[in-house]
């Protein structure tokens, strides 16, 4: 009796702590997703609706060991969270020019509002990019600006820290795939992705850590790959692919070399390429290209992952630590070049950030780009006529290409500002006869996210993913209606995972999704070697 009483008392008392309250607010519920009819037209919401998509909460990470590994609080929301929050935010403002400037200069013109795939998909007002930024700017104005402190909140719409605000942050900063589409249309290039990344790290610092994304960061740091595979599992997987490849082609010296010291090239690619479908088809493609080019290459068990989810939050240390494996492997394996496979965010870090974090790479062969994208590599061979191609192998396809956000809006390829649009398309044209682009405002720098980038790929995020994919699905439908397109070529592991799930969800066959090197692999005529 007394025991029972004591229990209710503690339970009652416990429910009043901030942590209990926020845990209740952020409780994950499995919610059914809803698709829309595919008409080929991207329909903008007529009017934004406040919080109509607020019920989608990604799962929180509760594993104390992982949290401790990552350096985040282990018991949920910390007691002095307001203090920690503001301290972290201050740090973000001081460490990132992007965050500082973007907090100040938005004129709230709304040019970005209806450019976000999640706003288009959900119609939720808080998914308009400037409204997403406002979630942080409210706090910024209240605590970090003179008018906010002087005139209070009514003048500038400032906001006190509260649990409700945390709830909004956790909800809407995980309905942004950091795709940077908004930044294309903003007169000042305000990049909501930078704000989202900072916000996520602030949430982490107070103890609200999203599960999917951070579990993977931990795997990559400790095991070297996102899936958390041990070294021999990696070897088994790759050996399995190799024997499959030999069987399929009937050529017994086609290989997937592992940890071979002194190879010319270290090749890194997302570990999803080892098993997932359609990813694995591209792995066959890469192996065929290297084989046919006659250049020695190797994969690494130490750097068995190209992806780096450290990008998705403003935590430089995580990203740097994961990135190190690749360059360490390159050094240890004494390679001369590093080539990266098909993946968007991986390529952005590899090409844009590696040089800052682990460069200068003066110990690698300077005649080639460091690192080199597999499309740059393949196109170069194709142009030199070093690969024999039989386009008819792809005759059944009318191909279109989805520009992955992080590549298309990320950086140059081939040394020109348009290379990242042109080079992948050029590769496709070399290996397929029929290529058709999707509508202009859905490709190149205006490309729409697949709907699951930057940490939204977990199953808990399915309702958001299904909505975020709408613009891309409509654009694909438009190309289908106009040109009979029946294959979407991708250069990103996340896009592949998302679209191969979304296509069946929206009623298209999964086989219409694949990688560019899947097409290359099909068209290469093996064995017939002519002047490399």
């Amino acid at each position: 009796m007394a025991d029972k009483e004591a229990q209710t008392v503690t339970a009652g008392a416990a429910a009043t702590t901030d942590n209990d309250k926020i845990q209740a607010m952020l409780k994950y519920d499995k919610i059914d997703y809803q698709t829309v009819e595919l008409t080929g037209e991207i329909i903008l919401p007529t009017e934004p609706v406040d919080k109509c998509f607020a019920h989608i909460k990604p799962q929180l990470l509760t594993d104390k060991k992982l949290l401790a590994n990552l350096g985040y609080p282990t018991d949920g929301l910390v007691d002095n969270w307001k203090e920690v929050f503001l301290r972290k935010m201050d740090e973000m403002l001081k460490k990132y020019k992007s965050v500082r400037v973007f907090m100040d200069i938005c004129v709230k013109c709304g040019a970005c509002a209806d450019k976000c795939p999640y706003y288009i998909g959900t119609g939720d007002a808080n998914n308009m990019p400037m409204a997403r930024q406002e979630l942080m700017r409210k706090v910024y104005r209240r605590y970090f600006t003179v008018p906010g402190q002087l005139f209070g909140n009514w003048m500038v719409k400032g906001e006190e820290l509260s649990l409700e605000l945390l709830n909004m942050w956790y909800t809407y900063f995980y309905q942004c795939s950091e795709c940077r589409r908004c930044s294309v249309f903003c007169p000042y290039g305000i990049d909501t992705a930078e704000v989202t990344m900072a916000a996520r790290e602030i949430l982490n610092s107070v103890g609200l850590v999203q599960k999917y994304l951070h579990q993977i960061i931990n795997n990559a740091q400790t095991m070297g790959n996102n899936l958390g595979m041990q070294k021999n599992a990696v070897i088994n997987a790759l050996e399995f692919v190799e024997s499959d490849l030999q069987e399929e082609t009937g050529i017994d010296n086609i290989r997937i070399p592992i940890d071979e010291e002194g190879a010319e090239i270290l090749f890194v690619t997302p570990s999803a390429d080892f098993f997932a479908s359609p990813h694995i088809e591209s792995l066959y493609g890469y192996a065929k290209v290297f084989h046919q080019a006659g250049i020695s290459w190797t994969m690494s068990t130490y750097a068995s992952e190209g992806g780096n989810f450290g990008l998705f939050i403003h935590n430089y240390e995580h990203m740097k630590k994961i990135n190190k494996r690749i360059w360490q492997a390159a050094k240890d394996l004494k390679v001369k070049r590093v080539v990266g496979g098909e993946c968007g965010h991986m390529w952005r870090i590899l090409s844009s950030y590696s040089n800052t974090m682990w460069g200068p790479f003066d110990w690698l062969d300077q005649r080639y780009p460091i690192p080199e994208h597999i499309c740059e590599f393949t196109l170069n061979l194709l142009k030199r006529g070093a690969l024999k191609i039989d386009k008819s192998a792809n005759d059944e396809f009318i191909v279109t290409m989805h520009d992955s956000c992080q590549i298309a809006r990320g950086m140059e390829m081939g040394g020109t500002e348009y290379g990242q649009f042109e080079i992948p398309r050029a590769v496709i044209r070399y290996v397929c006869d029929k290529f058709q682009d999707m509508p202009e405002d859905t490709i190149r720098e205006r490309t729409f996210c697949c709907g699951a980038g930057q940490g939204l790929l977990g199953d808990d995020m399915l309702p958001t993913r299904v909505k975020g994919a709408i613009p891309r699905m409509q654009a694909y439908t438009a190309a289908k209606q106009a040109h009979g397109v029946n294959f979407i070529a991708l250069i990103c592991a996340i896009c592949k995972a998302q679209l191969s799930k979304m296509f069946p969800t929206y009623g298209y066959p999964m086989e219409e999704v694949g990688g560019i090197h899947q097409l290359v692999g099909r068209a290469i005529v093996l064995g017939a070697k002519e002047g490399v």
């Binding site: 209806d114 294309v184 930078e194 200068p360």
Partner: protein, 268 residues
């Protein structure tokens, strides 16, 4: 000097110095903050040119022609651009009050001045209506967003009124006042309570006091987009991270990769 004139004169003069000081100090402080905050990584947003010349050209397109804005929104682009360009012309025209010798451009603009003024007013009204009608913009707008537009409308409106008979001020007197005010020595004459004489005209007093308010408000507000744009990393950074190592100001050390053997295990 009569009592009322003395009060107006001293108010205008002291507000002039106060607002110019706040504006300059605030603007410089904020811009130096943008300048000195480190940017750890290269985040240009494509298609960003791969050399400095190209980037300057692209940024000029943004500043002069609102290139990025023109990609997405027609009404806002036109209204916004016309507002800024007419504001610029109006600003240039106001130079005639501050320069002893009036440059030719300024004189030339006087043919179209009244037209420009009305277009400026109209574009501001369009922007204000848009801010009231467009539900997306309403959702994020605060009092301060309406305030700036209203303030600018009042400034332009009072300015235009002064071109008409009952409100027409003593232009020569104003120019005299302004020329005196921009001379720093005048600041000290304030201490001896000998302010430069301001022409008695209520419309002029309202107009110029509103401008002082704008100047004071400027550095604390979103109007800092004027200076901030030039520090927007997606726009000013050159797109060449592979060929030129970008140094993170708070992580300057070149990567230290010693051969560990760790990464090169044989699968023997």
């Amino acid at each position: 000097m009569g009592g009322m004139t003395f009060l107006t004169s001293i108010a205008i003069s002291s507000l002039f110095y106060l607002s110019v000081f706040v504006f300059l100090a605030g603007f410089i402080y904020r811009v130096s903050l943008y300048y000195s905050t480190p940017q750890p990584l290269k985040i240009p947003q494509t298609p960003q040119p791969v050399n400095v010349g190209g980037v300057v050209f692209r940024m000029a397109g943004d500043v002069l022609f609102f290139r990025s804005l023109s990609k997405g929104t027609t009404l806002l682009f036109f209204a916004g651009w016309i507002f800024h360009i007419t504001l610029l012309v109006t600003g240039i025209r106001h130079l005639r009050y501050f320069l002893p010798m009036v440059p030719d451009v300024v004189v030339w603009f006087s043919h179209v001045a009244i037209f420009i003024g009305f277009v400026l007013l109209l574009s501001l009204v369009v922007l204000l209506i848009r801010r009231i009608v467009d539900k997306k913009v309403v959702f994020v707008s605060s009092l301060s967003d309406y305030f700036v537009l209203l303030l600018l409308i009042c400034i332009v409106f009072t300015g235009l009124l002064m071109r008409y008979a009952p409100f027409r001020p003593d232009i020569v007197g104003i120019k005299g006042l302004m020329l005196e005010l921009v001379n720093p020595v005048t600041a000290f004459s304030l201490l001896t309570l000998h302010p430069p004489h301001a022409p008695a005209n209520y419309m002029f007093a309202i107009h110029i006091i509103l401008v002082f308010i704008l100047l004071i408000y400027f550095p604390f507000s979103k109007l800092m987009h004027m200076g901030g744009y030039f520090f927007s990393p997606t726009r000013y950074m050159v797109n060449n991270p592979r060929t030129k190592r970008y140094v993170n100001p708070w992580d300057k050390e070149p990567g230290n990769l010693t051969v560990s053997g760790e990464g090169g295990q044989n699968n023997g």
